[in-house]
Symmetry: C2
Subunit: 215 residues, 2 copies
DNA sequence: GTCTATATTAAGATAGAC
DNA sequence: GTCTATCTTAATATAGAC
């Protein structure tokens, strides 16, 4: 599990203070995910959290502190779908289930997706260290599982790291670049069922061993 | 073709002024792609362009104007790979060639990719209108071609719009989120040959008609 | 066309009363 | 803990000499 250093300003984390910080973080998630770190302002966050700006800064040391807190809090949730991939399950089903969980995350948590996308695009200045440790370890671990499946002929031969990149890319695309998707499809709301069906079919095609490759 | 409204400040576009504006735009591409619009500063751009800030603002009306000019100038280049998809070519080869061109763009023009990624993630405030017209028209046109190919049984049945989203997502991922790719692979430079090979294989698997589907 | 100096504003953060 | 008022800095943009 990822260790999260929760260093909030008030000594005692009373019920009221946890409620306030929660409200601030919720507002900050909205603003940061829409405008990026630099584009976001404390005024916007304060207004959305229905709190004054100085009061906001009573709970957090700085704008940066809010941002850092958001990212570290959300990291576990973000890695959860990959963690859930079961080495003992059916290979193709495990991977397409992972794809399904990821597309559901894009649908249900687009703000979280864009928050991370912004962070990564800036070169991950805040969470670089923790990603280089935890994310890398997790991906390497699952890559080994995928490699084993391929060697056993239970899925088609595939580069496991790049397969995972393709899964991240295709699923998060619907959250991170939803403006473009909507604009191209000419709809106000993305039909996520269509996206999910498309990805389910394509990843099954990628992974299902061909007759030639079967032993 | 996309019409580009070039509205520069100097009346006469002399050779010297075109050189300057070119140098400014090159610097701006670097800075905007690394920091996003809000994160970028005119100081950074001016320094990189080796020009004073007021001089920079002699050539462009505002920071926004530089940004807008960059996006509109680069748009055609960005759509070129899809435009080049030939309805009369071999279906699978045409699509994997498109994938190849896109991954080469991610390798050779990562700054352009991130510039557009930033713009789209903010909801495309600058180029929304032109995308809704030109990009949508282009994608719809190529989607029809793909649908025809599928109906003729020359490629596997696929949702053409979502296929295109998958191509954009998987290829641009290596430019937009290169920090994460490098961090996960543990390398300083991405081996684009590996990515290209992976994508070539996967899209061939997706597209090659199965025996069952062939007529 | 280019520069130095400067005006203007926006935004992060703090002081201090309550 | 919360507020009003304010400090401070950074950044866009302009004035005006050369």
């Amino acid at each position: 599990m990822t260790e999260i250093a929760v260093k909030l300003r008030p000594r005692k984390q009373t019920r009221i203070s946890m409620e306030k910080t929660g409200k601030i973080l919720e507002a900050a998630l909205y603003v940061f995910s829409n405008s990026g770190f630099r584009g976001a302002t404390l005024d916007q966050i304060a207004e959305r959290a229905e709190i004054s700006k100085p009061n906001l800064l009573y709970y957090f040391d700085s704008k940066e502190a809010i941002h850092r807190e958001l990212l570290t809090r959300l990291l576990d949730k973000w890695l959860e779908p990959l963690r859930a991939m079961d080495p003992d399950g059916d290979p193709v089903e495990e991977i397409v289930s992972y794809v399904k969980r990821k597309i559901e995350m894009a649908r249900d948590f687009p703000r979280e997706s864009r928050l991370f996308a912004n962070e990564i695009m800036q070169g991950a200045p805040v969470i670089h260290a923790v990603l280089a440790r935890d994310l890398k370890a997790l991906v390497d671990e699952k890559a080994k599982v995928i490699t084993a499946w391929a060697e056993e002929g239970r899925i088609a031969s595939v580069n496991p790291h790049h397969l995972i990149f393709s899964i991240w890319a295709t699923t998060q695309h619907y959250a991170d670049f939803s403006a473009q998707v909507r604009l191209v499809l000419g709809t106000d709301n993305i039909a996520f069922e269509d996206a999910a069906e498309h990805l389910d079919r394509t990843f099954r095609r990628i992974l299902t061993p061909s007759f030639a490759e079967k032993r």
